[in-house]
């Protein structure tokens, strides 16, 4: 076994331990491994369980990535520990434990697969409970087996009040430890791994303690421990590890704690008849039932089930919040404005003139000059109006389903109230979405009913027909092909909006009355610079605070077709290129890499240039703010988030072939409330040369000074 595979193997063992508490940190695994060795024999058998399960999975060639995450090991750990806990060790008994580690392994793989494929649920520790109860039922039939009488040992820690000691015991007993010390080690590891889980454990424990104390006559320590360890694990699973935290998860934890207690009593009564331990069975049942039932909700916006590879509950929350605020508004289609150039919204949604009641989700557009005028000369004929006879284009691909033509253009200020809509084109975009454009010039249609049109294709010319005092376009989305159908609120996917001289980028937004809006015209240089293609490779050399590094990037796609850049340093950045805007979706792995900085600098970039254009975007807190600051805030994270991290970006154009465009950004990280003292600023830039290549990166804060040069590796022709 060479060093690399040995290291992988050790990683796997550590991850197996960490998995017991829904963690993906090796050091948490190491802490748990040490905690298990507080009782050395149990620690040894737990380790044996992990090693055998992992080796078995490797020998049988299960998915290498899943093996590495400790997926196959953790039921083995629990079974090994339990085996050593319940009975006196004799050679024959040990032999049976080993055999049952195999049984546990097969039980976990098959149960896991069954739950995943049939119910889309995690297996949790159900396989362990199943094989433990089979094992104990089997073992009981032999008279050479001697059950131990275990009891919790206060040890040196007798000074600690019992209700605190029992809290630690509850942690310790998950690894079949009877010593308080083991529980303490685990509790500290949890505290450092996740403040959210730590707070959850206290809430669940306290509530459970209160209930047990008041509901049961004379509860034993064993009852406290049995019930609260289940309550704590349930609080972990539902309060952060499998469901993304929010204030509602606290209510869920409270309800689930009560439920867990009920199931504890129920299973103890049912299984107790046969003298079988129920251990973490209530936890498994409550969590699986809750998660499964939550899946059937029509809308999943609250109590969101984890939908990506889990990190710590805090990281999951930050990632989810960031994704939600940035991408939740995205729709399955990308409609754009139905014209060329910059137009003004003369009447917006809920406009005061005609956009009312069922027809409120519509826009009117006109063209204005620098001074805001809509016409030249005296504006007495439609031809004087800037928008008259300009092209009208399809907002989205679709089929022309209705055309109304031959309604004459009105004279100025003489609207046609008989044919309200005037000449109109209605396009079916599929998915039940239709768009309708009205007040078109008679006889200007370039398409006919039944034609398939592409987004941006000219379909007609702007006119002054229908209820239109002056030439303008009326634009609305609707759900049928009827003329004059009520409007449907649907956003426009990407456009520049100008107001008071400042232009900003809007994605899946609704133009406001008075705004000057235009479609993004992709600039070939910017577009090529951010066109990352699968198979591309980049070589980077960079310096961080004066130290020199090199790095290699590969552009790849995963099984869901998500495109990502993988760095040789171990950072992965998921990109989300959407038509005319480039987005960085997420960054994972090491933050000491050029790719991490590139993620910061290119969080979003429109692929078209605009004068005085500025746009903003936000980062997940965990990706941009250090652990020490987060540590404090995360105690309160369930209630409120005290940190924010955002950037303002803009283009700078230079007439220098080496620096044709610079994407500049200022980054602000802010705390509020008790973290009001926290503020960190940074500035960065991406340099794009005239050959449309990203050539240099810069990022600077008070503490860091990062510079990089990028070179694309020539592809073999």
């Amino acid at each position: 076994m060479n060093i690399l595979t040995l290291r992988t193997f050790i990683d796997t063992i550590l991850y197996s331990y960490a998995q017991i508490f829904f963690s993906n940190r090796r050091w948490v695994g190491a802490a748990l491994l040490i905690a298990a060795f507080v009782s050395p024999v149990i620690g040894l058998f737990a380790l044996l369980g992990a090693v055998i399960s992992t080796l078995l999975a490797q020998a049988l060639k299960y998915n290498a990535e899943r093996i590495r995450t400790g997926f196959y090991g953790f039921n083995g750990i629990l079974f090994g520990a339990a085996g050593a806990y319940y009975c006196e060790l004799t050679p024959l008994y040990v032999g049976f434990i080993l055999v049952f580690i195999f049984v546990t392994f097969f039980a976990s793989t098959s149960l896991e697969h069954y739950l995943a494929s049939s119910f889309n649920l995690p297996g949790l520790s159900l396989p362990f409970i199943l094989s433990l109860d089979i094992f104990l039922t089997f073992i009981k039939t032999f008279d050479w087996v001697h059950f131990k009488t275990n009891s919790v040992q206060p040890g040196f820690f007798e000074v600690i009040p019992e209700y605190i000691r029992l809290y630690f015991h509850s942690f310790g007993f998950i690894l079949f430890q009877t010593d308080v010390l083991a529980g303490m080690i685990i509790a500290v590891a949890i505290l450092f791994f996740s403040r959210v889980l730590f707070v959850n454990s206290i809430i669940a424990y306290a509530l459970n303690y209160f209930l047990v104390k008041n509901l049961f006559p004379d509860p034993t320590p064993a009852l406290y421990i049995q019930t609260s360890l289940n309550a704590i694990l349930v609080a972990f699973a539902l309060g952060g590890s499998l469901i993304i935290i929010s204030r509602k998860t606290i209510i869920l934890i409270v309800l689930a704690t009560v439920m867990t207690l009920i199931f504890n009593i129920f299973f103890t009564s049912v299984f107790g008849v046969h003298g079988l331990p129920i251990f973490v069975l209530p936890f498994n049942v409550v969590v699986l039932a809750t998660i499964y039932s939550l899946k059937f909700r029509q809308e999943q916006s609250d109590l969101v089930l984890l939908y990506f590879a889990p990190g710590s509950p805090e990281e999951n929350y930050y990632y989810h919040q960031n994704r939600k605020s940035r991408f939740d508004k995205f729709r399955f289609v990308f409609p754009e404005l139905p014209f060329f150039g910059e137009w003004k919204v003369s009447q917006g949604i809920n406009g005061s003139i005609t956009h009312k009641t069922d027809w409120r989700h519509a826009w009117d557009f006109v063209i204005t000059d620098e001074s805001g005028k809509e016409y030249r000369g005296n504006g007495l004929s439609p031809e004087d109006y800037f928008c008259y006879n300009t092209p009208v284009v399809a907002p989205l691909d679709g089929e022309v389903v209705r055309i109304v033509d031959n309604i004459p253009d009105n004279e100025i200020n003489n609207p046609n109230l008989k044919n309200n809509w005037g000449n109109t084109i209605i396009i079916n975009h599929g998915y039940g979405l239709f768009s309708s454009i009205s007040h078109i010039k008679p006889g200007s249609f370039e398409v006919k009913k039944g034609d398939h049109v592409l987004k941006g294709q000219t379909v007609a010319r702007c006119g002054n027909s229908g209820r239109s005092p002056v030439p303008h376009l009326h634009f609305q989305f609707q759900l049928t092909d009827r003329l004059g159908e009520k409007t449907y609120l649907f956003p426009l996917s990407q456009y520049f909006q100008r107001n008071a001289g400042e232009t900003t980028l809007c994605t899946f937004d609704y133009p406001n009355e008075g705004d000057l809006v235009r479609n993004i015209e992709a600039h070939s240089t910017i577009r090529r610079a951010f066109d990352f293609r699968i198979g591309q490779e980049f070589e980077l050399s960079w310096t961080l605070n004066g130290k020199q590094y090199t790095e290699h990037w590969d552009v790849k796609a995963d099984s869901t077709n998500a495109v990502y850049i993988e760095s040789s340093i171990g950072t992965v950045a998921y990109i989300h290129p959407k038509e005319k805007v480039f987005f960085m979706a997420n960054v994972l792995g090491s933050k000491k890499s050029a790719l991490y900085y590139f993620y910061l600098l290119s969080i979003s970039v429109p692929l078209g240039y605009g004068e005085r254009l500025r746009w903003t975007d936000t980062f997940p807190i965990s990706a941009t703010i250090g652990k020490a600051v987060r540590f404090v805030s995360e105690f309160m994270l369930v209630f409120t988030n005290l940190l924010s991290s955002s950037a303002v970006l803009w283009f700078e154009k230079q007439d220098d072939p080496k620096k044709q465009f610079i994407v500049r950004s200022t980054h602000t990280r802010l705390g509020r409330g008790v973290l009001g003292w926290f503020k960190a600023n940074g500035t960065g830039s991406i340099v794009i040369d005239s050959d449309a290549r990203i050539s240099e990166l810069y990022f600077e804060t008070g503490k860091t000074n990062f510079q990089a040069t990028i070179r694309e590796k020539e592809m073999p022709v």
């Binding site: 060329f340 910059e342 800037f386 092209p391 000219t458 007439d655 072939p657 005239s690």
Partner: protein, 453 residues
């Protein structure tokens, strides 16, 4: 109420029977201020004659034309025609508005480069490009618009020799139904010359065909020729795409859009006679939608407008030097600006108005320049109110082709000032001095001395 102005008596010959559908003489308002700055103050400070440019009007023109085209076609790029007016300050205004540079000589090319325009933002037109000029343009990735076969051969030779690729387009000329036919520039479309030249370029690995160019004329008074020209250019682009798989980056429609100057021999005022720019824009952009297989990367439309963007941003202030009666009794004014400054008055009837309040009675007059040459006539017949020696007149629409075609003939060239958008006046070219004019001259020693008795 001030003192009533004295109007000296005028004898006007009356013609009976000549009806005038416009009624009696038009009242023209005096132009006492340019962009809110009194003409008097300008003359006092910068002398007479004086060219005055308005930054605001230039920007407004550019933005209006840009708006008109961009609301009709999504990708439009303007290239400032240097020959129209290559004062640095003027060019900079247009570059700030996002225009590239369109040059027709190495002199103009160098000007653009010195101003800070990168090669790739320069369109290099013209029938006379030297070997050195082409070499430089290739190195700097300028867009070279090939005018004739000899230039094409030379480009092939130079690119081979340098081992560099040139960014090229060809200028195409066509019959667009106007006279005169501008067939002396570029390759002809109808006789197949253009396709032959394009075939040669396409097969050459060192020539990258990036666009097509045409410039059908100047001061075009109808949009239809543009529609014909663009339709033919699009046909050529579609042929290139289908036959040679060439994806053009741009189509250059040239310039030639009319300004609001009235031509000699034009009956109506230009404002009334000319179609709106919207109609030109419709004619130019309309055919572009017939481009085939371009998907969502349509070529950029390049426009090289000059005149239409700057003519009305230029004013010429001049002073009346003398009044005369010609032999037939016709009134004549001699002003201090002549055809040395207004080459354009050979074909334009430049609008001319007094710069101060005058009486209302008008008299037919001729306006002559200061040169001691018979041809120096700005207006042969113009109806003007009575003015005195020392008073000023303002000539309109002199922004285009004046400061590039003026000559140092008989007298020196005056200052050019720009009225800035944010207020204030800046000299953008100082008036010439004797030293400036003589600095390049060298007198042989034997000719340095003479004595006159």
């Amino acid at each position: 109420m001030g003192k009533k102005q004295y109007e000296r008596p005028i004898i006007n010959k009356q013609y009976s029977g000549f009806m005038n559908k416009f009624g009696n003489a038009t009242v023209s308002q005096p132009k006492t201020e340019i962009e809110n700055i009194p003409v008097k103050d300008l003359v006092a400070q910068y002398g007479s004659p004086l060219f005055v440019m308005s930054e605001r009007v230039m920007r407004e023109n550019q933005r209006n034309v840009a708006r008109i085209f961009r609301t009709r076609y999504p990708k439009v790029q303007f290239a400032w025609s240097y020959k129209t007016n290559y004062m640095n300050a003027v060019c900079s205004v247009f570059h700030q508005e996002g225009s590239w540079a369109e040059v027709v000589s190495e002199f103009e090319y160098d000007r653009a480069r010195r101003l800070g325009v990168q090669g790739e933002h320069i369109i290099f037109n013209g029938p006379d490009k030297s070997t050195e000029g082409l070499e430089r343009a290739i190195r700097e990735k300028a867009k070279i618009h090939i005018d004739h076969y000899d230039e094409l051969y030379e480009l092939i030779e130079i690119t081979e020799r340098l081992g560099l690729t040139a960014q090229v387009a060809i200028r195409v000329n066509y019959d667009v139904g106007v006279y005169p036919k501008w067939d002396r520039f570029g390759f002809n479309y109808e006789n197949g010359e253009a396709r032959e030249a394009l075939k040669r370029i396409v097969v050459n690995k060192k020539l990258k065909l990036v666009g097509l160019h045409s410039h059908i004329g100047t001061y075009m008074m109808s949009p239809e020729p543009y529609r014909i020209a663009m339709t033919k250019m699009v046909a050529l682009a579609n042929w290139l795409k289908s036959q040679h798989h060439v994806h053009l980056e741009y189509l250059d429609a040239g310039g030639g859009l009319p300004s609001h100057n009235t031509l000699k021999g034009q009956y109506l005022q230009a404002e009334e006679a000319l179609p709106a720019l919207d109609q030109y824009a419709d004619a130019i952009t309309g055919p572009l939608f017939e481009l085939e297989s371009y998907g969502d990367s349509m070529p950029t439309l390049i426009l090289e407008s000059g005149r239409a963007l700057i003519d009305n941003a230029g004013f010429l202030i001049s002073t009346i030097s003398a009044l005369k009666r010609l032999s037939d009794g016709k009134r004549a004014y001699i002003i201090d600006a002549g055809i040395n400054l207004l080459f354009t008055s050979f074909w334009y009837k430049h609008k001319l108005v007094p710069a101060q309040a005058t009486g209302v009675i008008k008299e037919n007059a001729s306006v002559f320049g200061p040169l001691c040459m018979n041809i120096d006539c700005i207006h042969e017949d113009i109806s003007l109110p009575a003015m005195k020696k020392g008073e000023h007149v303002v000539l309109f629409n002199v922004g285009a082709y004046t400061m590039t075609q003026w000559m140092q003939f008989i007298t020196l060239r005056p200052s050019v000032v720009m009225i800035m958008e944010k207020g204030g006046v800046e000299v953008i070219r100082k008036g010439e001095s004797l030293d400036y004019v003589m600095q390049l001259e060298q007198t042989p020693d034997s000719l340095k001395k003479f004595s006159l008795v």
